[in-house]
């Protein structure tokens, strides 16, 4: 009897929270729930009547919040109903959530997968019901998706490297040592960022003296940076594979009094990183375009629902490239650097 009571309590809790507008966090007005239909744009957009499911890697992460904003805005503009899902960085949630979306009869599935390797099953399951699958960023895990919009991680690292070289020359710095702070090994796609940076730097005669992993953790990056400095006090640049780590590293450098002497670069283009750039503790970061990627996702989904053929940047791998761009040390976008 007591358990029954607790369950009812639980249910009441959930309902009341849902009723109080506990919709997914985003400033966009289209509140995505399975019960609501999307709010229409002012009557101009022809209502498609389509239902699109979108599943995101981890909505507690700024990057995917922007991506969802893009998806929501475009869905609203196009008049499609949107159902969203948060994987919370859990591969089980990824599979279950996508399966639920597939089963609830969506017309297309958009996924930004936390663990791309599980996409194989999901894509098969979706295609059995003729549901096109659009993958946004991260990776496709070798699955037979309809299209993947991919940010050039490797190229982004290269851009950071090129900018780094320029800044070093500008400042007349003579040293040639640099270090890389890496994400955890299981983040196979983020790892490419460091590889790109290394490609440019080592290709120009610089030496990588240290490469430590900080598991995407700010505090670990702070400690790693201190340890790198201890053994390699003469380094001139550090590249961290994401902003969280870059900011931890830059703090360590700041405490060592070497801000400006050692250039720190990050990746992600987070608000906090831009703040740090303007404050002078970070030299630059590479921004992806999550919002644009989200918007593109909806557009591609609608195209596929209509049965249209897509035009790929790389037909063999069904990739469409989303550009990444540099945010330089003024805190502004700088398009003069490209990958390659």
């Amino acid at each position: 009897m007591k358990k029954v009571l607790s369950i009812l309590l639980t249910a009441v809790l959930i309902f009341s929270l849902a009723a109080c507008g506990g919709s997914n966090s985003s400033s966009s007005s289209a509140g995505p729930t399975s019960n609501q239909s999307s709010t229409e744009a002012a009557g101009n957009a022809a209502p498609e009547g389509y239902v699109i499911g979108a599943s995101f890697y981890d909505l507690s992460n700024e990057y995917f919040q922007y991506m969802m904003e893009g998806v929501q805005n475009e869905a609203e503009a196009q008049g499609v109903t949107l159902k969203t899902h948060d994987q919370k960085n859990d591969e089980n949630e990824l599979v279950t959530g996508c399966q639920n979306l597939i089963d609830s009869g969506v017309d297309a599935l958009i996924v930004s997968p936390c663990k791309p390797e599980v996409m194989g099953n999901i894509v098969e399951s979706a295609h059995e019901k003729n549901i096109p699958v659009i993958i946004l960023d991260i990776g496709d895990g070798g699955s037979d998706k309809d299209v993947i919009v991919v940010s050039d991680m490797y190229g982004g690292g290269q851009i950071a490297g090129k900018y780094c070289l320029d800044l070093l020359k500008e400042n007349g710095v003579e040293g040639t040592e640099y270090a890389i702070i890496k994400c955890e090994e299981s983040a196979v796609y983020a790892i490419q960022r460091g590889q790109g940076f290394e490609n440019i730097m080592s290709g120009s005669g610089y030496t990588k003296v240290s490469e430590l992993t900080a598991n995407s953790d700010t505090t670990q990056a702070y400690s790693a940076m201190q340890d790198i400095l201890a053994s390699n006090p003469d380094i001139v640049a550090v590249f961290a594979e994401n902003d969280n780590m870059a900011l931890g590293a830059s703090s360590a450098i700041d405490e060592a009094g070497k801000t400006g002497e050692i250039l720190v670069f990050g990746f992600d283009g987070n608000e906090s990183a831009v703040e740090a750039i303007k404050d002078g503790t970070l030299a630059g970061t590479i921004a992806q375009q999550p919002t644009e990627i989200g918007v593109l996702g909806i557009k591609l989904a609608i195209q596929r629902i209509n049965g249209e053929e897509l035009s790929y940047d790389n037909a063999g791998t069904k990739e469409i490239y989303a550009a990444v761009y540099l945010i330089d040390n003024t805190g502004e976008r700088n398009d003069s650097y490209t990958a390659g």
Binding site: S60, G248, N270, S272, A273, E275, A276, D279, G280
Partner: protein
């Protein structure tokens, strides 16, 4: 067990963890002398302050027979509160006090769940770990960088020194442990915590308000976690709702390595400090050696298991004599 063995274990109880620390330092020193340079050792000490401070509080929870899995989330929450307050223009002192107050509330909630709702500490703090993390995210969904405009006072906790040469983190660490030692061995609170951990039912019959003490214990744990969070935030100059993810493991490992018994009743203040230093030192040493991710994990696991195996051998020998 022979008299000599008994004496050995007595000495081990007091100094065992210290001995293991020496062995560890020695090993690393041989592998790379740079690791044991005085400046490097100082860095290790400074770096161990964050987990050490939280471990000091966690010791009480474990001593009382429970533990607190939510300290990581409390640390994240602390970091967020400080960042939001600072960037809204409030002073550093106000921000820090607000964070500590919030942590006290969290500890109070933990204590309530465990005493009044009779939920086991493990599952109660598992639940609050989720809840507090969620609250941190709701309060502050994106990381907030504390630029030089905001962090100048806070930075003192990380880079400042006392008397010109003792780093503030170490000052904080020593202060916390001195207070903890006094509380643990010289105050009624400490005695009662130990008693509750040994035999809660017996203590209840004496009329001592066990529930109140347990709540106080969890408030202590939460506030030390918050203090650790203040220091951590000062170090990395950023308020981040996921800053403390996985932190509870560091705190608990330090306490256990220090010799505090998981069944409660026997704490070891100095041991906890040494445990915290040891874990930090091993991680630092491995970083300097350039050891890969997987092997670092394995190394910590081995240190833990090794330290506990020795403890286990002691228990076996004690059992045999009975």
């Amino acid at each position: 067990m022979s008299q000599r063995a008994k004496k050995f274990w007595l000495v081990w109880d007091r100094l065992g963890t210290l001995f293991i620390l020496f062995v560890v330092v020695l090993v690393f020193g041989i592998l790379n002398p740079r690791i044991v340079q005085p400046s490097q050792l100082l860095t290790a000490l400074t770096r161990s302050a964050v987990s050490g401070i939280a471990a000091a509080g966690m010791m009480y929870a474990i001593c009382a027979g429970g533990f607190d899995l939510s300290v990581g989330s409390i640390l994240s929450l602390t970091s967020c509160i400080i960042a939001v307050q600072l960037t809204s223009g409030r002073g550093t002192v106000v921000a820090v006090l607000a964070a500590l107050a919030a942590a006290a509330v969290c500890g109070f909630v933990n204590g309530l769940l465990i005493t009044k709702l009779k939920i086991q500490a493990f599952v109660a703090t598992l639940a609050t770990q989720l809840a507090f993390a969620g609250i941190a995210l709701v309060y502050c969904s994106k990381a907030i960088q504390l630029t030089s405009k905001y962090n100048s006072q806070l930075k003192f906790l990380s880079t400042g020194t006392l008397f010109g040469f003792i780093p503030m983190p170490i000052v904080m660490l020593i202060a916390v442990y001195v207070i903890s030692y006094i509380v643990y061995s010289k105050t009624p609170f400490g005695t009662r915590v130990r008693a509750i951990g040994s035999n809660e039912a017996a203590v209840r019959t004496t009329g001592i308000k066990v529930d109140r003490i347990m709540i106080e214990v969890f408030i202590v744990t939460a506030v030390t976690a918050a203090l650790a969070g203040v220091l951590n935030t000062a170090q990395v100059s950023i308020g981040n709702p996921t800053l403390g993810e996985g932190f509870e493991l560091d705190a608990i490992t330090a306490v256990v390595l220090g010799g505090t018994s998981l069944s409660g009743g026997r704490g070891n203040v100095a041991g906890t400090l040494i445990g915290a230093i040891m874990v930090t030192f091993v991680k630092m040493g491995l970083n300097i050696l350039g050891v890969g991710e997987a092997y670092q994990k394995m190394a910590i696991a081995i240190v833990l298991i090794f330290a506990l195996t020795i403890n286990g051998i002691k228990l076996i020998m004690q059992k045999e004599e009975k």
